[in-house]
Symmetry: C2
Subunit: 274 residues, 2 copies
């Protein structure tokens, strides 16, 4: 998928919502546990109910690996279903990978070729040669962790490197890498006030913003400081949508929660256009 | 496995060799490609030929994920084979994971419970709450990336944070985390001269040292600066051992290469004891 196609989808749907598919078998409706593949059954119902309200889905690989082979199979079926039934949707493997060059190339193969995701999240700690193998894939995007939404972000990411926070150093350095135009960045919504500074460094890049909802971030604040001329935001919500109900009405409840967020986004887009 | 059991194994085998099981189907003997599960067949042959010379095996998950479901199945079979046939061996999932707390807990479940590895490598960028879920498992070890062996290590890891390299900051901070005694660290052999300083911060911890061999690090140098009273080192070699031959004699060739390294290690241990 190209970035223009993503932007077109955002404008058409009046939404920049990304839904996190983080399936925990302890949290899904009990009735689904009788299914052959409860994880996929849950994802399929959520996707069918919400696809018209969001522009991206983001399965976090941890939740699939925790169920071993069955989990990996459910991940394969989920991405295959998305690619076949809703090819306009932008897909994100939230995998936070990163390794030495030849090994990162294997991860890139896994997520871009074997599973056919549009994008993958990558950790920056190992530097340029751990990220560039991902960037070599055309029409695929590498979403680099910059400033995450958790408390631990203050352990290293906000510490000063030569009078500048490490995450800013990551942003600036990554701009010099080959095919840097294929980079997007993870920036946590719990730190919306940082977005103004971040936009000075990467005015044009898309930001994947987790932490709206369950983690306490504000949609209005994120948009105020983070939106650019191409919108440039993907706002993720996981638990707040997919676990809106544990009863048989879980998909309808997810639809309602997604609709709330999409409506708020449409209002913001409407204001920003006028 | 306890750390004492690992140390006992090192002394018994006169080896602190870890063998990386990074299986690339383009590099293994063609004859194996006819097998039902070529990846597992290759690993089994390598393990059976070399287990008496090493104390640890380290599959890198990238090489398994790149082959999708088949790859993940081969990983499951490999760790199950190791745990059943050679339970004295220390097993490392080289996965370089790390995410927000509840998600890291799912990764910990995947590698410590579902797959039953003794340890897993974890990236530090997301800080304390991304690592502590791994540390809560008794008799399991979390191997934190400190200073890696690739060129990109100079992008961020060696940059100064408050007059101290980021990787030193990671070492010091991690010592304050809950169950920090279950931490080990990745320190690349290509930077052996850094080990003297590193040992001042973490004198007692085990270090997993990649980069001897293919990446150019020196065993003598690493031992000179990195060894502690409990040895405290696991030296990894992957390609240099497992791809010593692409012919039908690949397992014997791996055995010979492993024997070379083990002999060098035995000589060093002998010197350090006298």
């Amino acid at each position: 998928m190209t970035q223009d196609q993503l932007i077109h989808q955002i404008k058409t749907k009046q939404s920049f919502l990304c839904i996190g598919l983080d399936v925990d078998l302890n949290k899904i409706p009990e009735v689904l546990l009788k299914e052959d593949d409860p994880i996929f059954a849950f994802n399929k119902a959520i996707i069918d109910a919400t696809h018209h309200l969001c522009v991206a889905y983001k399965p976090n690989t941890a939740f699939y690996e925790a169920y071993g082979l069955k989990g990996w199979k459910a991940l394969e079926k989920t991405i295959a279903y998305l690619n076949e039934k809703y090819p306009e949707i932008f897909t994100i493997a939230d995998a936070k990978r990163g390794d030495i060059g030849n090994t990162s190339a294997m991860y890139a193969k896994a997520f871009f070729e074997d599973l056919a995701f549009d994008s993958v999240t990558v950790a920056p700690y190992m530097g340029k040669d751990s990220v560039e193998p991902f960037l070599s894939f055309e029409n695929k995007y590498t979403i680099l962790l910059a400033l995450t939404s958790n408390v631990g972000a203050y352990d290293f990411q906000t510490k000063n490197v030569d009078d500048k926070a490490l995450y800013k150093h990551v942003l600036e350095t990554s701009k010099t890498w080959e095919n840097a135009e294929r980079l997007m960045y993870v920036v946590g919504a719990t730190k919306a006030e940082f977005l103004e500074d971040i936009r000075k460094i990467i005015p044009d890049s898309f930001l994947l913003v987790p932490g709206v909802g369950a983690q306490g971030g504000s949609l209005e604040e994120v948009c105020k400081y983070g939106m650019n001329k191409n919108i440039g935001l993907l706002i993720n919500s996981s638990r707040g949508i997919i676990y809106a109900s544990k009863e048989t009405d879980f998909a309808e409840a997810a639809d309602l929660k997604a609709k709330e967020l999409q409506s708020a986004m449409a209002a913001i887009l409407d204001r920003s256009e006028s």
